[in-house]
Protein backbone atom coordinates (compact mmCIF):
# COMPACT_ATOMS: atom_id res chain seq x y z
CA UNK A 1 0.00 0.00 0.00
CA UNK A 2 1.21 3.49 -0.84
CA UNK A 3 2.22 5.57 2.16
CA UNK A 4 3.31 8.73 0.36
CA UNK A 5 0.57 9.34 -2.21
CA UNK A 6 1.85 12.77 -3.27
CA UNK A 7 5.55 12.12 -3.78
CA UNK A 8 6.17 8.37 -3.93
CA UNK A 9 6.09 8.13 -7.73
CA UNK A 10 8.30 11.20 -8.24
CA UNK A 11 11.75 10.82 -9.77
CA UNK A 12 14.83 11.58 -7.74
CA UNK A 13 16.04 13.96 -10.44
CA UNK A 14 14.47 17.29 -11.34
CA UNK A 15 12.14 16.01 -14.03
CA UNK A 16 8.38 15.83 -14.32
CA UNK A 17 6.74 12.42 -14.50
CA UNK A 18 5.64 11.87 -18.10
CA UNK A 19 2.11 10.68 -18.73
CA UNK A 20 3.38 7.12 -19.33
CA UNK A 21 5.38 7.09 -16.12
CA UNK A 22 2.44 8.55 -14.23
CA UNK A 23 0.07 5.93 -15.63
CA UNK A 24 2.54 3.10 -14.91
CA UNK A 25 2.30 4.20 -11.28
CA UNK A 26 -1.50 3.91 -11.42
CA UNK A 27 -2.24 7.44 -12.57
CA UNK A 28 -5.58 8.41 -14.14
CA UNK A 29 -7.23 5.19 -12.89
CA UNK A 30 -9.05 7.14 -10.18
CA UNK A 31 -10.33 9.72 -12.67
CA UNK A 32 -11.51 6.91 -14.97
CA UNK A 33 -13.37 5.25 -12.12
CA UNK A 34 -14.89 8.53 -10.98
CA UNK A 35 -16.28 9.63 -14.35
CA UNK A 36 -17.38 6.19 -15.55
CA UNK A 37 -18.61 4.48 -12.39
CA UNK A 38 -19.47 7.20 -9.89
CA UNK A 39 -21.84 10.14 -9.71
CA UNK A 40 -20.51 13.60 -8.85
CA UNK A 41 -22.33 13.31 -5.53
CA UNK A 42 -20.52 10.06 -4.76
CA UNK A 43 -17.15 11.73 -5.41
CA UNK A 44 -18.10 14.59 -3.05
CA UNK A 45 -19.22 12.02 -0.46
CA UNK A 46 -15.98 10.05 -0.73
CA UNK A 47 -13.85 13.15 -0.21
CA UNK A 48 -16.08 14.36 2.63
CA UNK A 49 -15.78 10.93 4.28
CA UNK A 50 -11.96 11.12 3.99
CA UNK A 51 -11.91 14.30 6.11
CA UNK A 52 -9.49 15.95 3.66
CA UNK A 53 -8.92 19.53 4.75
CA UNK A 54 -7.64 22.30 2.45
CA UNK A 55 -3.85 22.42 2.29
CA UNK A 56 -3.60 26.08 1.29
CA UNK A 57 -3.52 27.23 4.89
CA UNK A 58 -7.08 27.64 6.14
CA UNK A 59 -7.85 23.94 6.50
CA UNK A 60 -11.48 24.09 5.38
CA UNK A 61 -12.96 20.61 4.72
CA UNK A 62 -12.73 20.04 0.96
CA UNK A 63 -15.83 17.90 0.56
CA UNK A 64 -17.89 20.45 2.44
CA UNK A 65 -16.60 23.27 0.22
CA UNK A 66 -17.61 21.29 -2.86
CA UNK A 67 -21.05 20.54 -1.40
CA UNK A 68 -21.93 24.28 -1.41
CA UNK A 69 -21.91 24.38 -5.23
CA UNK A 70 -25.52 24.44 -6.43
CA UNK A 71 -26.63 21.76 -8.89
CA UNK A 72 -26.15 22.98 -12.46
CA UNK A 73 -29.10 24.87 -13.86
CA UNK A 74 -29.77 27.31 -16.66
CA UNK A 75 -29.60 30.33 -14.40
CA UNK A 76 -26.17 29.92 -12.84
CA UNK A 77 -24.43 28.13 -15.71
CA UNK A 78 -21.66 25.57 -15.44
CA UNK A 79 -19.20 25.85 -12.58
CA UNK A 80 -15.49 26.64 -12.66
CA UNK A 81 -12.78 24.73 -10.83
CA UNK A 82 -9.73 26.85 -10.06
CA UNK A 83 -6.49 25.41 -8.74
CA UNK A 84 -4.69 27.98 -6.61
CA UNK A 85 -1.03 27.65 -7.59
CA UNK A 86 -0.18 31.24 -6.67
CA UNK A 87 2.15 30.13 -3.91
CA UNK A 88 3.53 33.33 -2.38
CA UNK A 89 3.28 32.91 1.39
CA UNK A 90 6.80 33.78 2.56
CA UNK A 91 8.64 30.66 3.64
CA UNK A 92 6.41 28.39 1.56
CA UNK A 93 7.69 26.31 -1.35
CA UNK A 94 5.65 23.10 -1.20
CA UNK A 95 3.30 23.47 -4.18
CA UNK A 96 6.28 24.18 -6.44
CA UNK A 97 7.43 20.58 -5.90
CA UNK A 98 4.09 19.06 -6.90
CA UNK A 99 3.67 21.35 -9.92
CA UNK A 100 7.17 20.77 -11.24
CA UNK A 101 7.62 17.10 -10.53
CA UNK A 102 4.13 15.59 -10.61
CA UNK A 103 2.03 17.78 -12.92
CA UNK A 104 -0.27 14.93 -13.97
CA UNK A 105 -1.29 14.37 -10.33
CA UNK A 106 -2.30 18.04 -10.20
CA UNK A 107 -4.26 17.61 -13.45
CA UNK A 108 -5.96 14.37 -12.43
CA UNK A 109 -6.92 15.87 -9.07
CA UNK A 110 -8.24 19.02 -10.72
CA UNK A 111 -10.27 17.03 -13.24
CA UNK A 112 -11.75 14.80 -10.51
CA UNK A 113 -12.63 17.92 -8.49
CA UNK A 114 -14.17 19.49 -11.62
CA UNK A 115 -16.27 16.35 -12.12
CA UNK A 116 -17.38 16.45 -8.47
CA UNK A 117 -18.72 20.00 -8.76
CA UNK A 118 -19.79 19.51 -12.40
CA UNK A 119 -17.45 22.19 -13.72
CA UNK A 120 -16.63 22.28 -17.41
CA UNK A 121 -13.60 24.56 -17.17
CA UNK A 122 -10.48 24.29 -15.04
CA UNK A 123 -8.06 27.17 -14.48
CA UNK A 124 -4.62 26.47 -13.09
CA UNK A 125 -3.70 29.85 -11.58
CA UNK A 126 0.10 29.73 -11.54
CA UNK A 127 2.35 32.29 -9.94
CA UNK A 128 4.46 34.39 -12.38
CA UNK A 129 7.69 33.25 -10.70
CA UNK A 130 6.92 29.57 -11.31
CA UNK A 131 8.08 29.50 -14.93
CA UNK A 132 9.15 25.87 -14.89
CA UNK A 133 5.89 24.80 -13.26
CA UNK A 134 3.83 26.58 -15.92
CA UNK A 135 5.88 24.98 -18.71
CA UNK A 136 5.55 21.49 -17.27
CA UNK A 137 1.81 21.88 -16.67
CA UNK A 138 1.38 23.05 -20.26
CA UNK A 139 3.26 19.98 -21.48
CA UNK A 140 1.18 17.73 -19.21
CA UNK A 141 -2.06 19.25 -20.48
CA UNK A 142 -1.02 18.54 -24.08
CA UNK A 143 -0.17 14.94 -23.16
CA UNK A 144 -3.47 14.42 -21.35
CA UNK A 145 -5.45 16.03 -24.14
CA UNK A 146 -3.74 13.70 -26.59
CA UNK A 147 -5.06 10.70 -24.65
CA UNK A 148 -8.55 12.13 -24.33
CA UNK A 149 -8.34 12.79 -20.57
CA UNK A 150 -9.07 16.45 -21.21
CA UNK A 151 -11.73 17.59 -23.67
CA UNK A 152 -15.07 16.05 -24.59
CA UNK A 153 -16.49 12.79 -23.26
CA UNK A 154 -13.57 11.94 -21.02
CA UNK A 155 -13.12 8.15 -20.77
CA UNK A 156 -16.24 7.82 -22.92
CA UNK A 157 -18.39 9.44 -20.23
CA UNK A 158 -20.55 12.54 -20.55
CA UNK A 159 -17.96 14.56 -18.60
CA UNK A 160 -16.30 17.32 -20.65
CA UNK A 161 -13.64 19.69 -19.35
CA UNK A 162 -11.23 22.29 -20.69
CA UNK A 163 -8.04 23.07 -18.77
CA UNK A 164 -6.15 26.38 -19.01
CA UNK A 165 -2.92 27.56 -17.41
CA UNK A 166 -3.23 31.16 -16.22
CA UNK A 167 0.02 32.81 -15.19
CA UNK A 168 -0.47 35.87 -13.03
CA UNK A 169 1.55 39.07 -12.84
CA UNK A 170 2.33 38.90 -9.17
CA UNK A 171 0.73 40.15 -6.00
CA UNK A 172 0.21 38.32 -2.70
CA UNK A 173 -3.51 39.08 -2.96
CA UNK A 174 -3.74 36.83 -6.04
CA UNK A 175 -3.56 33.88 -3.65
CA UNK A 176 -6.55 35.06 -1.62
CA UNK A 177 -9.63 33.20 -2.81
CA UNK A 178 -11.76 36.13 -3.94
CA UNK A 179 -8.74 38.25 -4.93
CA UNK A 180 -7.69 35.38 -7.18
CA UNK A 181 -11.10 35.38 -8.87
CA UNK A 182 -10.83 39.12 -9.52
CA UNK A 183 -7.31 38.62 -10.92
CA UNK A 184 -8.55 35.82 -13.16
CA UNK A 185 -11.25 38.18 -14.45
CA UNK A 186 -8.52 40.70 -15.34
CA UNK A 187 -9.19 43.10 -12.47
CA UNK A 188 -7.18 44.26 -9.48
CA UNK A 189 -6.89 41.37 -7.03
CA UNK A 190 -8.88 43.08 -4.29
CA UNK A 191 -10.98 40.80 -2.08
CA UNK A 192 -14.76 40.54 -2.29
CA UNK A 193 -17.11 40.62 0.63
CA UNK A 194 -18.74 37.31 1.54
CA UNK A 195 -21.52 36.26 1.16
CA UNK A 196 -22.16 35.48 -1.60
CA UNK A 197 -19.50 32.79 -1.40
CA UNK A 198 -17.55 31.90 -4.56
CA UNK A 199 -19.05 28.40 -4.54
CA UNK A 200 -22.35 30.09 -5.44
CA UNK A 201 -21.27 33.35 -7.14
CA UNK A 202 -17.63 33.17 -8.22
CA UNK A 203 -15.72 33.77 -11.44
CA UNK A 204 -17.85 35.83 -13.84
CA UNK A 205 -20.81 35.24 -11.53
CA UNK A 206 -20.72 31.46 -11.95
CA UNK A 207 -20.27 28.88 -9.17
CA UNK A 208 -16.55 28.48 -8.54
CA UNK A 209 -14.43 26.34 -6.28
CA UNK A 210 -10.86 27.39 -5.54
CA UNK A 211 -8.68 24.55 -4.24
CA UNK A 212 -4.99 24.54 -3.34
CA UNK A 213 -2.55 22.43 -5.39
CA UNK A 214 -1.75 20.00 -2.57
CA UNK A 215 -5.47 19.65 -1.82
CA UNK A 216 -6.43 18.50 -5.32
CA UNK A 217 -3.39 16.18 -5.41
CA UNK A 218 -4.92 14.24 -2.51
CA UNK A 219 -8.17 13.59 -4.38
CA UNK A 220 -7.07 10.80 -6.81
CA UNK A 221 -5.43 8.73 -4.04
CA UNK A 222 -8.54 9.09 -1.88
CA UNK A 223 -10.77 7.91 -4.73
CA UNK A 224 -8.37 5.06 -5.54
CA UNK A 225 -7.70 3.72 -2.06
CA UNK A 226 -10.58 4.95 0.07
CA UNK A 227 -11.13 7.10 3.10
CA UNK A 228 -10.15 4.45 5.68
CA UNK A 229 -6.73 4.17 4.06
CA UNK A 230 -6.41 7.97 3.85
CA UNK A 231 -7.19 8.32 7.55
CA UNK A 232 -4.68 5.57 8.39
CA UNK A 233 -1.86 7.65 6.85
CA UNK A 234 -2.16 10.23 9.61
CA UNK A 235 -0.88 10.20 13.18
CA UNK A 236 -3.86 12.21 14.40
CA UNK A 237 -7.51 13.00 13.70
CA UNK A 238 -6.69 15.11 10.64
CA UNK A 239 -6.34 12.71 7.71
CA UNK A 240 -3.66 12.00 5.16
CA UNK A 241 -0.09 13.04 4.71
CA UNK A 242 1.28 16.59 4.60
CA UNK A 243 4.10 18.17 2.67
CA UNK A 244 6.13 19.68 5.48
CA UNK A 245 9.14 21.87 4.97
CA UNK A 246 11.81 23.75 6.87
CA UNK A 247 13.85 26.84 6.07
CA UNK A 248 16.08 29.20 8.02
CA UNK A 249 19.34 28.23 9.75
CA UNK A 250 18.86 24.46 9.66
CA UNK A 251 21.46 22.07 8.28
CA UNK A 252 19.34 20.64 5.49
CA UNK A 253 16.41 22.84 4.48
CA UNK A 254 13.87 20.95 2.40
CA UNK A 255 10.46 19.40 1.93
CA UNK A 256 9.19 16.04 3.12
CA UNK A 257 5.87 14.24 2.73
CA UNK A 258 5.16 12.91 6.22
CA UNK A 259 2.14 11.64 8.14
CA UNK A 260 -0.21 14.47 9.13
CA UNK A 261 0.49 15.28 12.76
CA UNK A 262 4.27 14.87 12.61
CA UNK A 263 5.86 17.07 15.27
CA UNK A 264 8.01 20.13 14.62
CA UNK A 265 10.78 18.38 16.58
CA UNK A 266 10.85 15.51 14.07
CA UNK A 267 10.72 17.90 11.10
CA UNK A 268 13.46 20.21 12.37
CA UNK A 269 15.77 17.76 14.12
CA UNK A 270 15.41 14.60 12.04
CA UNK A 271 14.51 15.72 8.53
CA UNK A 272 16.13 19.16 8.43
CA UNK A 273 19.18 17.91 10.33
CA UNK A 274 18.69 20.26 13.26
CA UNK A 275 19.68 23.88 13.70
CA UNK A 276 23.14 24.72 12.32
CA UNK A 277 26.09 24.41 14.62
CA UNK A 278 26.75 27.55 16.61
CA UNK A 279 23.04 28.37 16.64
CA UNK A 280 20.13 27.15 18.73
CA UNK A 281 16.38 27.18 18.25
CA UNK A 282 14.56 30.21 19.61
CA UNK A 283 11.18 29.69 17.98
CA UNK A 284 9.47 28.84 14.71
CA UNK A 285 6.60 29.83 12.46
CA UNK A 286 4.81 26.52 11.79
CA UNK A 287 3.31 27.31 8.41
CA UNK A 288 4.38 30.49 6.69
CA UNK A 289 4.61 34.20 7.45
CA UNK A 290 1.03 34.55 8.64
CA UNK A 291 1.15 32.03 11.48
CA UNK A 292 1.87 32.69 15.17
CA UNK A 293 5.34 31.96 16.54
CA UNK A 294 5.74 28.84 18.62
CA UNK A 295 8.72 28.04 20.84
CA UNK A 296 10.76 25.14 22.20
CA UNK A 297 7.91 24.04 24.45
CA UNK A 298 5.74 23.38 21.37
CA UNK A 299 8.22 21.14 19.58
CA UNK A 300 6.30 17.99 20.48
CA UNK A 301 2.85 19.25 19.52
CA UNK A 302 1.53 17.36 16.47
CA UNK A 303 1.57 19.65 13.44
CA UNK A 304 -2.06 19.19 12.38
CA UNK A 305 -4.89 21.70 12.09
CA UNK A 306 -6.48 21.12 15.49
CA UNK A 307 -3.35 20.74 17.62
CA UNK A 308 -1.63 23.79 16.11
CA UNK A 309 -4.73 25.82 16.84
CA UNK A 310 -4.72 24.47 20.38
CA UNK A 311 -1.12 25.63 20.76
CA UNK A 312 -2.15 29.16 19.73
CA UNK A 313 -0.98 29.08 16.15
CA UNK A 314 -2.05 27.57 12.85
CA UNK A 315 -0.75 24.75 10.67
CA UNK A 316 -0.92 27.17 7.73
CA UNK A 317 1.06 25.76 4.84
CA UNK A 318 3.10 23.39 7.04
CA UNK A 319 6.41 24.85 5.91
CA UNK A 320 8.31 25.72 9.08
CA UNK A 321 10.47 28.87 9.30
CA UNK A 322 13.08 28.53 12.03
CA UNK A 323 14.10 31.48 14.21
CA UNK A 324 17.56 30.92 15.66
CA UNK A 325 19.03 32.55 18.75
CA UNK A 326 21.29 34.91 16.80
CA UNK A 327 18.52 36.33 14.61
CA UNK A 328 16.69 39.33 16.05
CA UNK A 329 12.99 38.54 16.56
CA UNK A 330 12.06 42.24 16.34
CA UNK A 331 13.82 42.57 12.99
CA UNK A 332 12.22 39.33 11.80
CA UNK A 333 8.73 40.59 12.64
CA UNK A 334 9.64 43.88 10.95
CA UNK A 335 10.57 41.95 7.79
CA UNK A 336 7.26 40.05 7.92
CA UNK A 337 5.10 43.12 8.53
CA UNK A 338 6.98 45.08 5.83
CA UNK A 339 6.07 42.31 3.39
CA UNK A 340 2.39 42.49 4.32
CA UNK A 341 2.37 46.30 4.20
CA UNK A 342 3.87 46.23 0.71
CA UNK A 343 1.43 43.58 -0.52
CA UNK A 344 -1.72 45.10 1.01
CA UNK A 345 -4.13 45.94 -1.80
CA UNK A 346 -5.48 48.97 0.06
CA UNK A 347 -9.09 47.87 -0.21
CA UNK A 348 -9.94 48.34 3.46
CA UNK A 349 -8.71 50.88 5.98
CA UNK A 350 -7.28 48.76 8.83
CA UNK A 351 -4.92 47.02 6.43
CA UNK A 352 -4.10 49.99 4.18
CA UNK A 353 -3.30 52.38 7.05
CA UNK A 354 -2.57 50.01 9.92
CA UNK A 355 0.12 47.90 8.29
CA UNK A 356 2.44 50.79 7.25
CA UNK A 357 1.94 52.28 10.72
CA UNK A 358 2.84 48.98 12.38
CA UNK A 359 5.86 48.59 10.11
CA UNK A 360 7.07 52.10 10.99
CA UNK A 361 6.76 51.45 14.73
CA UNK A 362 8.75 48.22 14.35
CA UNK A 363 11.31 50.04 12.22
CA UNK A 364 11.72 52.64 14.97
CA UNK A 365 12.15 50.00 17.67
CA UNK A 366 14.65 48.01 15.60
CA UNK A 367 16.70 51.14 14.96
CA UNK A 368 16.81 52.33 18.56
CA UNK A 369 14.11 54.96 18.23
CA UNK A 370 11.33 53.08 20.02
CA UNK A 371 9.43 54.43 22.99
CA UNK A 372 7.92 52.38 25.82
CA UNK A 373 4.36 53.26 24.74
CA UNK A 374 5.06 51.73 21.31
CA UNK A 375 4.41 48.28 22.75
CA UNK A 376 0.87 49.29 23.74
CA UNK A 377 0.40 50.75 20.28
CA UNK A 378 1.50 47.45 18.70
CA UNK A 379 -0.89 45.51 20.97
CA UNK A 380 -3.69 47.85 19.88
CA UNK A 381 -2.90 47.24 16.21
CA UNK A 382 -3.05 43.49 16.81
CA UNK A 383 -6.66 44.01 17.85
CA UNK A 384 -7.64 46.62 15.26
CA UNK A 385 -6.16 44.67 12.36
CA UNK A 386 -7.40 41.35 13.69
CA UNK A 387 -10.11 38.98 12.50
CA UNK A 388 -13.53 40.42 11.72
CA UNK A 389 -12.35 43.93 10.85
CA UNK A 390 -11.11 43.40 7.29
CA UNK A 391 -12.39 41.96 4.02
CA UNK A 392 -9.74 39.25 3.88
CA UNK A 393 -7.15 37.49 6.02
CA UNK A 394 -4.10 39.54 4.96
CA UNK A 395 -4.01 41.98 7.89
CA UNK A 396 -5.11 39.45 10.52
CA UNK A 397 -2.44 37.12 9.15
CA UNK A 398 0.17 39.85 9.47
CA UNK A 399 -0.77 40.31 13.13
CA UNK A 400 -0.25 36.64 14.01
CA UNK A 401 3.57 36.67 14.09
CA UNK A 402 3.49 40.12 15.75
CA UNK A 403 1.10 39.26 18.58
CA UNK A 404 2.96 36.04 19.36
CA UNK A 405 6.36 37.76 19.20
CA UNK A 406 5.09 40.31 21.72
CA UNK A 407 4.12 37.38 23.92
CA UNK A 408 7.21 35.15 23.59
CA UNK A 409 9.99 37.65 22.81
CA UNK A 410 8.76 40.63 24.82
CA UNK A 411 12.10 41.10 26.57
CA UNK A 412 13.70 41.61 23.14
CA UNK A 413 11.32 44.45 22.32
CA UNK A 414 11.94 45.97 25.75
CA UNK A 415 15.73 45.73 25.41
CA UNK A 416 15.64 47.46 22.02
CA UNK A 417 13.70 50.32 23.56
CA UNK A 418 15.72 50.55 26.77
CA UNK A 419 19.14 50.27 25.12
CA UNK A 420 18.13 52.34 22.09
CA UNK A 421 19.72 49.84 19.73
CA UNK A 422 19.34 46.34 18.36
CA UNK A 423 21.25 44.02 20.71
CA UNK A 424 21.73 41.51 17.88
CA UNK A 425 23.42 43.89 15.44
CA UNK A 426 27.02 42.95 16.29
CA UNK A 427 26.25 39.37 17.06
CA UNK A 428 26.19 37.96 13.50
Amino acid sequence: MVHLPLTQAMKATDEALSIDEYQDAGGYAALRTAVTAMTPGEVVAAVTESNLKGRGGAGFPTGKKWSFVPRPNKRNGAAFLVVNADEMEPGTFKDRLLLERNPHLVLEGALAAAFAIQADTVYLFVRWAYKKAAQRLTTAIAEARGRGYIGDNIFGSRFCARVHVHTSFGRYMCGEETGLLNALAGKRASPRGKPPFPQVVGLCGRPTVVNNVETVCNVPPILAAGSAWFKSLSKTGDSGTKLYGASGRVRAPGLWELPMGTTAREIIEKHAGGVRSGYSLRGFLPGGASTDFLTNKHLDVPMDFDAMQGAGSRLGTGTVIVLDDRTCPVAMVHNLVAFFARESCGWCTPCRDGLPWTRNILDDIEHGKGRPEDLDRLELHCKLLGPGRTFCALAPGAMEPLQSALKYFREDFERHIAEKRCPYKHDR
Binding site: M88, A129, T327
Partner: protein
Protein backbone atom coordinates in the same frame (compact mmCIF):
# COMPACT_ATOMS: atom_id res chain seq x y z
CA UNK B 1 0.57 52.35 -32.13
CA UNK B 2 0.43 48.65 -31.47
CA UNK B 3 2.03 46.55 -34.15
CA UNK B 4 -0.05 43.90 -35.90
CA UNK B 5 2.05 41.27 -34.15
CA UNK B 6 1.22 42.81 -30.76
CA UNK B 7 -2.48 42.91 -31.62
CA UNK B 8 -2.33 39.26 -32.70
CA UNK B 9 -0.59 38.34 -29.44
CA UNK B 10 -3.29 40.12 -27.42
CA UNK B 11 -6.08 38.53 -29.42
CA UNK B 12 -4.50 35.10 -28.94
CA UNK B 13 -4.81 35.56 -25.16
CA UNK B 14 -8.58 36.01 -25.47
CA UNK B 15 -9.19 32.35 -26.32
CA UNK B 16 -8.82 30.96 -22.83
CA UNK B 17 -10.02 34.01 -20.88
CA UNK B 18 -13.31 33.77 -19.00
CA UNK B 19 -14.42 37.14 -20.41
CA UNK B 20 -13.15 39.75 -22.91
CA UNK B 21 -12.05 42.13 -20.15
CA UNK B 22 -10.12 39.36 -18.42
CA UNK B 23 -7.36 39.66 -20.97
CA UNK B 24 -6.23 43.12 -19.74
CA UNK B 25 -3.19 42.08 -17.64
CA UNK B 26 -2.03 39.67 -20.33
CA UNK B 27 -2.45 42.29 -23.03
CA UNK B 28 -0.13 44.53 -21.03
CA UNK B 29 2.20 41.58 -20.55
CA UNK B 30 2.28 40.87 -24.29
CA UNK B 31 3.28 44.46 -25.06
CA UNK B 32 5.78 44.55 -22.20
CA UNK B 33 7.48 41.40 -23.50
CA UNK B 34 8.22 43.26 -26.71
CA UNK B 35 8.96 46.75 -25.39
CA UNK B 36 10.34 46.04 -21.92
CA UNK B 37 7.87 48.27 -20.09
CA UNK B 38 4.50 50.03 -20.43
CA UNK B 39 4.81 53.69 -21.34
CA UNK B 40 1.83 56.07 -21.15
CA UNK B 41 1.53 55.78 -24.91
CA UNK B 42 1.58 51.96 -24.81
CA UNK B 43 -1.02 52.01 -22.05
CA UNK B 44 -3.32 54.19 -24.10
CA UNK B 45 -2.87 52.02 -27.19
CA UNK B 46 -3.68 48.84 -25.27
CA UNK B 47 -6.69 50.53 -23.64
CA UNK B 48 -7.99 51.58 -27.09
CA UNK B 49 -7.51 48.05 -28.41
CA UNK B 50 -9.47 46.60 -25.47
CA UNK B 51 -12.06 49.43 -25.57
CA UNK B 52 -11.28 50.29 -21.94
CA UNK B 53 -10.50 53.68 -20.47
CA UNK B 54 -6.76 54.30 -19.95
CA UNK B 55 -7.48 55.15 -16.30
CA UNK B 56 -9.11 51.78 -15.67
CA UNK B 57 -6.31 49.92 -17.42
CA UNK B 58 -3.72 51.91 -15.46
CA UNK B 59 -5.38 50.83 -12.20
CA UNK B 60 -4.67 47.26 -13.29
CA UNK B 61 -1.19 47.99 -14.63
CA UNK B 62 -0.08 49.62 -11.38
CA UNK B 63 -1.55 46.86 -9.22
CA UNK B 64 0.59 43.99 -10.45
CA UNK B 65 4.23 43.78 -9.40
CA UNK B 66 5.48 42.43 -12.71
CA UNK B 67 3.94 45.08 -14.97
CA UNK B 68 6.49 47.89 -15.25
CA UNK B 69 5.21 51.45 -15.71
CA UNK B 70 8.75 52.83 -15.68
CA UNK B 71 11.60 51.83 -18.01
CA UNK B 72 13.69 48.88 -16.87
CA UNK B 73 17.02 47.54 -18.07
CA UNK B 74 17.43 44.79 -20.60
CA UNK B 75 17.41 42.30 -17.71
CA UNK B 76 15.55 42.56 -14.42
CA UNK B 77 17.17 41.13 -11.30
CA UNK B 78 14.66 40.21 -8.60
CA UNK B 79 16.33 39.67 -5.25
CA UNK B 80 14.09 37.96 -2.69
CA UNK B 81 13.75 40.05 0.49
CA UNK B 82 11.23 37.85 2.31
CA UNK B 83 11.71 36.16 5.63
CA UNK B 84 13.72 33.00 4.85
CA UNK B 85 16.13 34.88 2.58
CA UNK B 86 16.32 37.64 5.18
CA UNK B 87 17.30 35.11 7.86
CA UNK B 88 19.93 33.78 5.47
CA UNK B 89 21.46 37.25 5.12
CA UNK B 90 20.20 38.44 1.75
CA UNK B 91 21.06 41.97 2.93
CA UNK B 92 24.80 41.24 2.59
CA UNK B 93 24.18 40.07 -0.96
CA UNK B 94 22.19 43.21 -1.66
CA UNK B 95 25.19 45.33 -0.68
CA UNK B 96 27.38 43.21 -2.92
CA UNK B 97 24.99 43.51 -5.87
CA UNK B 98 24.73 47.28 -5.47
CA UNK B 99 28.52 47.58 -5.53
CA UNK B 100 28.86 45.19 -8.45
CA UNK B 101 26.20 47.00 -10.47
CA UNK B 102 27.41 50.46 -9.39
CA UNK B 103 23.96 51.56 -8.25
CA UNK B 104 22.86 52.71 -4.81
CA UNK B 105 19.41 51.25 -4.15
CA UNK B 106 16.67 48.89 -5.26
CA UNK B 107 14.75 50.28 -8.21
CA UNK B 108 17.77 51.62 -10.06
CA UNK B 109 19.12 50.68 -13.48
CA UNK B 110 22.79 50.33 -14.34
CA UNK B 111 24.40 53.11 -16.39
CA UNK B 112 24.66 50.90 -19.45
CA UNK B 113 20.94 50.12 -19.27
CA UNK B 114 21.65 46.45 -18.81
CA UNK B 115 20.22 45.58 -15.37
CA UNK B 116 17.45 46.88 -13.13
CA UNK B 117 17.54 45.60 -9.54
CA UNK B 118 14.19 45.13 -7.81
CA UNK B 119 13.16 43.53 -4.52
CA UNK B 120 10.84 40.55 -4.78
CA UNK B 121 8.54 38.84 -2.34
CA UNK B 122 9.27 35.19 -1.53
CA UNK B 123 10.24 33.29 -4.69
CA UNK B 124 9.23 29.92 -3.23
CA UNK B 125 12.83 28.70 -3.10
CA UNK B 126 13.27 28.97 0.67
CA UNK B 127 15.15 25.67 0.88
CA UNK B 128 17.79 27.34 -1.33
CA UNK B 129 17.77 30.76 0.36
CA UNK B 130 19.03 33.32 -0.42
CA UNK B 131 17.49 33.31 -3.89
CA UNK B 132 17.00 35.62 -6.86
CA UNK B 133 15.62 35.56 -10.37
CA UNK B 134 17.14 37.16 -13.44
CA UNK B 135 14.38 37.44 -16.04
CA UNK B 136 13.10 33.85 -16.30
CA UNK B 137 15.95 32.13 -14.45
CA UNK B 138 15.92 31.23 -10.76
CA UNK B 139 19.14 31.10 -8.74
CA UNK B 140 19.49 29.80 -5.20
CA UNK B 141 22.07 29.17 -2.45
CA UNK B 142 23.52 32.50 -3.53
CA UNK B 143 26.98 33.65 -2.51
CA UNK B 144 28.93 36.71 -3.61
CA UNK B 145 30.87 34.49 -5.97
CA UNK B 146 27.82 32.87 -7.57
CA UNK B 147 26.20 36.27 -8.02
CA UNK B 148 29.34 37.48 -9.81
CA UNK B 149 29.20 34.45 -12.10
CA UNK B 150 25.57 35.11 -13.01
CA UNK B 151 26.10 38.83 -13.66
CA UNK B 152 29.24 38.19 -15.69
CA UNK B 153 27.50 35.55 -17.78
CA UNK B 154 24.74 38.01 -18.67
CA UNK B 155 27.26 40.76 -19.38
CA UNK B 156 29.39 38.54 -21.61
CA UNK B 157 26.37 37.48 -23.64
CA UNK B 158 24.96 41.00 -23.98
CA UNK B 159 24.00 41.92 -27.52
CA UNK B 160 22.04 45.07 -26.69
CA UNK B 161 18.77 43.10 -26.79
CA UNK B 162 16.63 41.63 -24.04
CA UNK B 163 17.53 38.07 -25.06
CA UNK B 164 18.74 35.83 -22.26
CA UNK B 165 22.13 34.13 -22.44
CA UNK B 166 22.18 30.36 -22.80
CA UNK B 167 21.46 28.66 -19.48
CA UNK B 168 24.30 28.13 -17.04
CA UNK B 169 26.13 24.87 -17.59
CA UNK B 170 26.71 24.37 -13.89
CA UNK B 171 25.90 25.84 -10.56
CA UNK B 172 22.98 27.54 -9.12
CA UNK B 173 20.23 27.70 -11.68
CA UNK B 174 17.08 25.67 -11.02
Amino acid sequence: MLTQEEKDAINAECGSAPSARAVAPHALGAVQRRRGWISDESLKDVADHLTMSPAELDSIATFYNRIYRSPVGRHVILLCDSVSCWIMDYEYLLQHLLTKLEISAFGQTTKDGMFTLLPSACLGACDHAPAMMVDQELFGDLTRQSIDEVIDRYRNADNGERTAPSPAATGHAF
